[in-house]
């Protein structure tokens, strides 16, 4: 069984991002970039399924600027077998990414596609669900556990009230939540090996998809800043302030 894993290159989660002073977006020049943390979890899950003998091949796909190939290399070093880079200078929104992935899935015929539940830059949480719609596949979003048996996959999902378990027919889409697994670090020998693994290079036009964004960003503002308040010396003072100053208890 083949697994497709879309991996996004995003600003590293440790970076304290800044809004550009002209309000045109977020400052990304010279900022550390990494694989979206949820996508690391997706790659890890695919690699574990391969180690268990459930999966036979893992294809990592990344879309965006040329440097997305580095994100693919990270996936290859973790254990993916080959990569597909879809290079585009226009900003790719989830609708375009999902359409591109649909064409790739039609060609590659994977049984399972594992995506992150959310990209930590745009915070859309949309691509996996959209891809499922385009393919007409069922979706197990926000997964904290997956189990494949025959042509079914059982997915335990993190929902608002706790956990929910669903059974989906394969092929299916899974999106990862934080508790699905703990991703491995790539070992040095595996990083070396990854350099020899193939990456195919495509453009949106090769896949017959118009990638034009449907959402125009008019401006990006800084959120209202909170002022640090005061320190209180004791629990008694805290309770007094909450009662008589803030009047919230």
């Amino acid at each position: 069984m083949k697994i497709l894993v879309p991996v996004k290159r995003v600003v590293d989660y440790n970076v304290k991002v800044r809004v550009k002073s002209d309000g045109s977006g977020i400052e990304t020049a010279g900022v550390k970039m990494s694989m979206n943390p949820f996508d690391e979890i997706a790659v890890e899950e695919a690699v574990r399924l391969k180690e268990k003998g459930v999966a036979t091949e893992i294809v990592a796909v990344s879309m965006g600027v040329t440097q997305c190939s580095e994100t693919i290399r990270t996936a290859l070093a973790m254990g993916a077998d080959r990569g597909i880079l879809v290079e585009s200078d226009v900003e790719l929104q989830p609708l375009a990414v999902a359409k591109l992935l649909k064409v790739i899935a039609d060609k590659e015929q994977p049984k399972l596609i594992i995506l992150g539940k959310q990209a930590i830059d745009d915070d859309m949480s949309a691509t996996g669900q959209m891809l499922a719609a385009f393919l007409g596949w069922p979706q197990g979003t926000f997964a904290s556990k997956v189990l494949i048996e025959g042509d079914k996959i059982t997915v335990t999902r993190e929902v608002d009230g706790g956990l929910e378990t669903v059974e989906l027919s394969l092929p299916a889409i899974v999106t990862t939540d934080l508790r699905l697994n703990e991703p491995r670090y790539a070992s040095l020998p595996n990083i070396m090996k990854a350099r020899k693994k193939p990456i195919e290079n495509l453009k949106p036009a090769d896949l017959g998809v118009d990638p034009a964004p449907r959402l125009t960003v008019l401006k990006v503002n800084e959120p209202p800043k909170r002022q640090a308040g005061k320190k209180v010396a004791s629990v008694a003072e805290l309770v007094d302030k909450l009662r008589n100053e803030a009047k919230v208890i």
Binding site: D123, M124, P138, T216, N221, V235
Partner: protein, 311 residues
């Protein structure tokens, strides 16, 4: 312009985040709502009482139980031609369903809006709320999830809408609900509570959350947690507050043994009053706290319980 809002309901009626989604929709014109599941006459009657709602579409069928994305998105897509905007709250259900709907309609979803500027233009947080993006959609139909913490919910009563049954739709059969393991709690829901008390890694284990409970009881608070506390298994996953957990904006948020990582702040920094209890005076949480108490939580929590009890 007419909007359709997907409602979520439970034994207590229409969930508060859904009422916030209705509030957002009323800024866009006429509002219809969709309520789905089996034996939902009572919930439908409650939906009809929401102020500002003109019509309730009732999809009473067992296929809609548990609001699985595959059937419910097929139904919403069938209803879509009558609407300019399709909305749901940014909940596990809304996030699961609405992007699927959007794809079927060739629309780019507008996730987690915090403000309605006009019919095409919305403000939404990006980068864990470190930026607020004003975005304009060029799609014919807008598919939206609504950040409940940013819109005051419409009241539960006051309206009187007409109800009508949903059309029969061919539903996919590729997914099946197996079971739910829901955390039982007598406390208010995190996203609806007036007071939230969250514990972090500093709590050391799940048992120590018992120190928070009597305080939560006295304040009528919901209990939340940082990711670290959830990952360590102290509390269930649905306690997580943050960028990738729940977004809360209560009157009072108390962070206990939480350092204040950006991902956590993203979920609570719009709270009205923030209190931090942390033994490290350098902890970043103090930069957003209105009241900071530098103290060991194992002495502070019992003291706080006593102080509140002696009122």
């Amino acid at each position: 312009m007419t909007s359709l809002v997907l409602l979520e309901h439970d034994a207590n009626g229409i969930k508060q985040p859904s009422r916030s989604a209705v509030a957002a929709a009323t800024k866009l014109g006429e509002v219809h709502v969709l309520i789905a599941g089996s034996n939902i006459a009572e919930a439908a009657a409650k939906a009809a009482k929401l102020p500002g709602v003109a019509k309730v579409i009732v999809a009473d069928a067992p296929e809609y139980d548990h609001v699985m994305a595959e059937p419910i998105s097929a139904l919403i897509v069938a209803l879509a031609p009558n609407y300019t905007h399709l909305l749901a709250a940014t909940t596990a259900v809304g996030k699961n369903v609405m992007p699927r709907v959007a794809a079927f309609l060739d629309a780019q979803p507008i996730s987690d809006i915090a403000e309605v500027v006009d019919a095409d233009t919305f403000v939404r947080p990006i980068y864990a709320g470190n930026g607020m993006a004003t975005v304009k959609s060029s799609d014919k139909v807008k598919v939206i999830t609504v950040r409940a913490a940013s819109f005051d919910p419409v009241p539960a009563e006051g309206g009187s809408a007409a109800t009508e049954p949903a059309p029969a739709v061919d539903l996919p059969k590729n997914s099946k609900f197996i079971s739910a393991e829901l955390s039982k709690s007598e406390r208010p829901e995190l996203t609806a509570a007036r007071v939230v008390i969250s514990g972090g890694r500093g709590m050391q284990n799940g048992d120590n959350f018992k120190l928070i409970e009597p305080i939560a009881d006295k304040l009528g608070a919901a209990v939340g947690a940082s990711r670290a506390a959830v990952d360590a298994g102290f509390v269930p996953n649905d306690y997580q507050v943050g960028q990738t957990g729940k977004i809360v904006a209560p009157e009072l948020y108390v962070a206990v043994g939480i350092s204040g990582a950006i991902q956590h702040l993203a979920g609570m920094k719009d709270s009205k009053v923030i209190v931090a209890i942390n033994k490290d005076e350098e902890a970043p949480i103090f930069q957003v706290a209105d009241y900071g108490l530098v103290q060991d939580l194992f002495t502070a929590l019992p003291e706080l319980d006593k102080e509140l009890g002696s009122s």
